[in-house]
């Protein structure tokens, strides 16, 4: 059974697109058939993060308007053949998305893929509500910071009321992904702690992604961080999160600043 996931947050700049690409690539790396869809019509980014921006011919809006067939718009990843991208249009805006069109595209993708990951735009308007409309499960991306947490709370409320599942009286499964976590700043009280975030949002935790230069480096070269440097701390956190999505029990590791055994042995100087 295909799983439709929406990666959402309410607030912009928290890491939705990075997380969509990293989780999509991690699932595809483990052999799953994955498509990532950019719902940010007008401000598309997922093609850049996936390194496919030079191969975009047709997009989601073309498919919805019947200008192109779905298979013409899907872009196969060059590194992983079971990973596809359905890009957004940069020249249109979110009003070009129609409810029936999105439903038809998702229904067709369900027959072809194991995982359909929808990268939601920021905000709570049309683009965001249509991205979550057909989701079976949602990944709520949050930074450990009050404005991001409150916006996530708002989005969780919408997931419980505005999705097709909610209207049928069912529940969208929800996972919390905390990104840009900085352990030393959290220890100094400059960020909300993991416990605070979990207490406020009362949603199960999918993973904690540490703040890292690797994420920026990966997006600059157009590669999901899980493919660019699979051994880096954020990539490993994303791989763990992807396994939890599949239902595996993976112990949760709170990222720390310790960079390895040598630091533990020799790096005793006060940070």
């Amino acid at each position: 059974m295909a799983q439709v996931l929406v990666v959402t947050s309410g607030k912009g700049g928290v890491g939705k697109t990075t997380s969509t690409a990293a989780l999509g690539a991690a699932l595809a790396h483990d052999g799953e058939k994955v498509v990532v869809i950019d719902f940010d019509v007008g401000l598309r980014n997922l093609d850049l993060v996936m390194g496919a921006e030079r191969r975009v011919v047709f997009d989601l809006i073309n498919v919805i308007h019947g200008v192109a067939k779905l298979h013409q718009a899907l872009i196969r990843d060059k590194r992983l053949e079971n990973l596809c991208l359905l890009p957004a249009s940069q020249t249109r805006d979110k009003d070009a998305l129609t409810e029936e069109g999105v439903a038809a595209v998702i229904a067709e993708l369900r027959t072809k893929f194991d995982w359909i990951i929808c990268d939601s735009p920021a905000g709570i308007e049309r683009g965001a509500t249509l991205a979550m409309r057909h989701a079976d499960a949602a990944i709520i991306v949050t930074n450990p910071e009050v404005s991001s947490v409150r916006d996530s709370d708002r989005i969780i409320g919408l997931l419980d009321s505005k999705t097709a599942k909610a209207e049928r009286g069912e529940r969208v499964e929800k996972h919390l992904l905390i990104t840009r976590y900085h352990s030393s700043r959290a220890a100094r009280g400059e960020m909300l702690s993991i416990d605070d975030v979990l207490e406020i949002l009362s949603t199960p935790l999918l993973g904690i992604i540490p703040e890292s230069e690797e994420v920026l480096r990966a997006s600059n070269i157009g590669s999901p961080v899980t493919l660019c440097n699979a051994l880096s701390a954020p990539a490993r956190a994303y791989f763990d999160a992807a396994r939890r999505l599949k239902g595996d029990k993976v112990p949760m590791i709170v990222p720390s600043d310790n960079r390895g055994i040598f630091n533990k042995l020799f790096g005793r100087k006060a940070a």
């Binding site: 409150r150 916006d151 709370d153 708002r154 409320g157 406020i200 009362s202």
Partner: protein
């Protein structure tokens, strides 16, 4: 200085919601009336004392035709309290008022009337729940309004969420949003919460914002009540 200033309170209007059955006639109307007669035969007198709303979105009827339909229904002892799904001009023709913004509930089957019972059966016992229980957290942006009585929330109320109750408000999680109790003019209503980090507390329209809540009460269990026109707060233990 002889003028006397009489302080006038602005008039308070109360809202109340009622449950009404909605009829949705389908063309041809004659057949629809026959079907209606068949249903009514099983439950005689069901609609006596239960005026209905007529939803005409499914049919194209002129004002005289609507009047004729309403007369037909009145022959069957069914009174129409309003119509829905018609152009606004129809409202100027002396027909029942046009209603808008109705919210759907479940659909009903007409109960079989017992042949022995002579008097019309009382169909829906008007049970008005006096309290509303919410088992999930109330999220930012959500608004829970329950004018008929108390509201109990088992989870937390998020920053940017609000609870409005005619009676008291009980929150077993953390209150980070707004709580407005006694909203229909009840000065005896109270607010209780397991942990107060509220943005605003109000009882009978007297309020306190986050700034006015003492630091010593924050992060702990607390209650709020009204003494005269002062909103009081105290720790709850």
């Amino acid at each position: 200085m002889s003028s006397v200033h009489v302080q006038r309170r602005s008039m308070m209007f109360r809202a109340r919601s009622f449950m009404a059955f909605v009829f949705t006639p389908q063309p041809p109307i004659v057949e629809w009336l026959t079907e209606l007669d068949a249903s009514l035969e099983r439950s005689t007198g069901f609609f006596v004392g239960h005026p209905v709303v007529l939803d005409l979105a499914g049919v194209q009827l002129s004002a005289p035709a609507i009047a004729h339909l309403i007369a037909n229904l009145e022959e069957r002892k069914i009174r129409v309290l309003g119509i829905e799904g018609v152009e606004p001009e129809v409202g100027e023709t002396g027909l029942p008022p046009i209603l808008r913004g109705g919210r759907g509930t479940r659909s009903f089957e007409l109960p079989e009337s017992q042949p022995a019972a002579a008097e019309p059966p009382a169909p829906l016992p008007p049970q008005k729940p006096a309290s509303l229980m919410i088992e999930d957290p109330v999220r930012s942006g959500q608004s829970v309004v329950f004018i008929d009585g108390d509201v109990t929330v088992l989870g937390s109320v998020g920053s940017g969420a609000e609870i409005v109750a005619g009676g008291s408000i009980h929150i077993y999680g953390t209150l980070r949003g707004r709580a407005m109790a006694g909203a229909a003019g009840n000065a005896r209503a109270r607010i209780f919460c397991h942990r107060v980090e509220a943005e605003l507390l109000a009882i009978n329209s007297y309020y306190k914002t986050a700034e006015d809540i003492e630091d010593s009460l924050r992060h702990g269990p607390a209650q709020a009540w009204l003494e005269g026109d002062v909103l009081k707060m105290a720790a709850l233990n």
